[in-house]
Point group: C2
Chain length 428, copies 2
């Protein structure tokens, strides 16, 4: 009996998810044709609704926080779950910023005429239906829904179960926006259950969902990638490097390394490993280590680095492959830029790397020969961010090479189609 | 004992595939940096080698054909497997045509400067390692290897087992080309066994293969998609439509429908369903049916179409969802362009559709509201081809929306990275 009842519950859930998917598909067809004005009206009305309903959102969040506290969530997870008036205002302002972006849809990306007179245009169109699976960070609900809406895609959102009430309160405001824009409510849908099984069902719905974007830690992304029958835009870890050349300006190197590591240690663009050219190890590196150690950063070094400062602890092999997301840095002295490039291509995660050098040829070698999404010369790795790139907002930094690489903004949530205009041409 | 031996064989195969993958990864890193001149030298030398070794290739093909004949392959499959001097010359000429294409790699796709002075460039780079899985069409070996090479990607090729000898003989010529260009031989590798298990192992190698492109029929593509842990660029079926409006020029409509269906019936861009506006059904449609029937095409029509000509046989519901790849067409009379659009979005495969009309507004509606990769106005669906688009060569027509849509040429086999140039900027 219990088994039968469980099976029937799974069947019910399948049906619920199926209806959600079909509603999204139908809404996406309408949203694909919506004007920029319509989409912006929905976005700004949603922002207004978030401000007007701040009280309700905070109450829902308080309920979530209470539940999470009872379940013994870590302080870091509680901090991500927590909303306050500042974070609510940031969500509303974020939606308004997305509204101000140019409409990516309908843009002619390329146009040419063939010798037979056919006029071919590659035109930007939405992807269709995007499934977003995220952890208990309720603000992702507004951020992701806003970017999907602007890029003409219907969104199916599945947030962490601890943020269920908060995310739903925010989604209600998105619906108010959609109604104000005269758009179907199914443009933004939350999975209406905490049941973990819903994710598994969602990942099989390749006929109604075009792409899955997981946002969260490694285990979430690995689970989604392993199970999904739908293409995934991945945002894996950032094992980011800074390489300081012997020709680096010492003050610039100190500033860039310190900012890359310490501005915020918990972001994917934070530097995790510092590589320093042999010749610079005795001149610049001691100053850098002193800066970091004084700020409370643990420095794990190779043998050469350990000799420079007593505060340096030994690095193990595992350190070169570790994303700390904390005030810890691994440091290695290398022969030259070639050794730095080889180290990064071996140990990096293809995310973001920076070289500090005044040698232009050396910089070009670094920028060209490393296979990462973002490569910087004389700038901090912490610029790895859609906002800093001028994209307005981002849903994450893709570490994959297919479809989107680096910051994923509204433009990256699109596809294209070919429109061919003729005058009766047939193919010989 | 038998089981242990089988397990050990599987282990051996895994090891072979692992080495293949690692060699490809290393070769890809070098190929990514190769100049256009180097790649072109390899391509033209490979073309020369194919011509010089035509005798060897034909002998290998004769062995394949004999084996395939014994296994009772269908006439259509034998035709695809068969090589002759004309097909060998086409392969060589194809490689030379690819050499003449502009180098897609290194192109700056977009460039902008941020208010803080950071100069950001989006630069085109190769994908890395591409796995191509195809049926027993040995010419795909040269076509696919050539496009991968031009786009800076290492290729791992797995052809159908019946074409094993032919494909290897062609791959040998590609290696001659690589040696002539001074490029690593592992830029183009054939899976060195007929064992079916090799495909399963290949589809798990997500750490060394960046994308899988299956080329072949529905069952191959479905198997690859179901099993692959690597992103797949899919080339599914083409249920292509022609819609003839009541404002269509009758002679143009006849020409376009006839060409769309009958020029070649076995290609994915061949029309499978004809939709005709109510008002045109009695004037233009009888002429179109007569053209098709006289050329030996079976016409399957709805009730309205059946009334027009005795040669029309009844269409069933299944016909609207069928890719015939044969001299058969399904015909339906619809009220207007809206009904045509709804039919195509419901029954089409998002491949290629054409409208014949002299009403510009109606054409725009069709081009905008249908969610297919290629949409044509007053032109034959048989233009759905990379060569006809001016791409030089193609590896297929993608029916997916992620990464590449429509014809997949050298440009579509690339990714990009961001190169950011600063002067000491740190993030506030």
């Amino acid at each position: 009996m219990a088994l039968a009842s469980q099976q029937s519950q799974t069947e019910d859930l399948r049906l619920v998810m199926r209806r959600l998917g079909e509603a999204a598909r139908a809404a996406a067809a309408r949203l694909a044709l919506a004007s920029n004005e319509t989409k912006n009206r929905a976005l700004t009305a949603a922002a207004k609704a978030i401000r007007a309903n701040a009280g309700k959102i905070l109450a829902a969040n308080a309920a979530d926080m209470e539940g999470a506290g009872k379940r013994g969530l870590s302080a870091a997870m509680l901090d991500r779950l927590m909303l306050d008036s500042k974070r609510i205002e940031a969500m509303a302002a974020g939606l308004e910023a997305v509204a101000e972006l140019p409409d990516p849809i309908g843009t002619v990306l390329k146009e040419w005429t063939r010798p037979n007179g056919l006029k071919i245009a590659r035109v930007r169109v939405p992807l269709g239906v995007i499934g977003i699976i995220y952890e208990s960070r309720p603000n992702v609900t507004a951020d992701a829904a806003g970017l999907c809406l602007k890029s003409g895609n219907a969104a199916i959102l599945r947030g962490g179960s601890e943020s269920f009430e908060s995310s739903n309160a925010i989604a209600e405001c998105m619906l108010e926006g959609l109604r104000a824009g005269g758009l179907p409510e199914a443009c933004v849908q939350m999975v209406p259950t905490r049941a973990r099984e819903a994710v598994g069902i969602m990942l099989q719905m390749s006929d109604v969902i075009d792409v899955i974007i997981p946002r969260g830690g490694r285990s979430l992304i690995e689970r989604v990638t392993a199970e999904s029958k739908i293409p995934v835009i991945k945002h894996l870890e950032g094992i980011c490097h800074v390489y300081v050349s012997n020709t680096a300006d010492p003050e610039m190197a100190r500033k860039i390394v310190f900012n890359s590591k310490m501005r915020r240690t918990g972001v994917c663009g934070a530097a995790e490993t510092l590589l320093v050219a042999d010749a610079a190890a005795k001149t610049i590196l001691p100053l850098i280590i002193d800066d970091l150690a004084k700020a409370g950063c643990e420095v794990r070094g190779d043998a050469a680095t350990q000799k420079l400062d007593k505060r340096v602890v030994p690095a193990t092999e595992a350190d070169w492959d570790t994303e700390y997301l904390d005030a810890i840095i691994s440091v290695k002295v290398v022969k030259d830029v070639d050794e730095a490039i080889a180290h990064i291509n071996k140990h990096g995660s293809h995310h973001t790397e920076s070289i500090v050098t005044s040698d232009a040829a050396e910089a070009e070698k670094f920028l060209t020969n490393i296979d990462s999404g973002i490569l910087l010369h004389n700038a901090s790795t912490q610029f790895a961010d859609g906002g800093e790139f001028g994209m307005g907002a981002e849903i994450g930094i893709s570490t994959g090479k297919l479809h989107a690489r680096g910051p994923v903004g509204a433009e990256q949530l699109t596809s294209y189609k070919y429109v061919v205009r003729g005058s009766g041409q047939v193919r010989p």
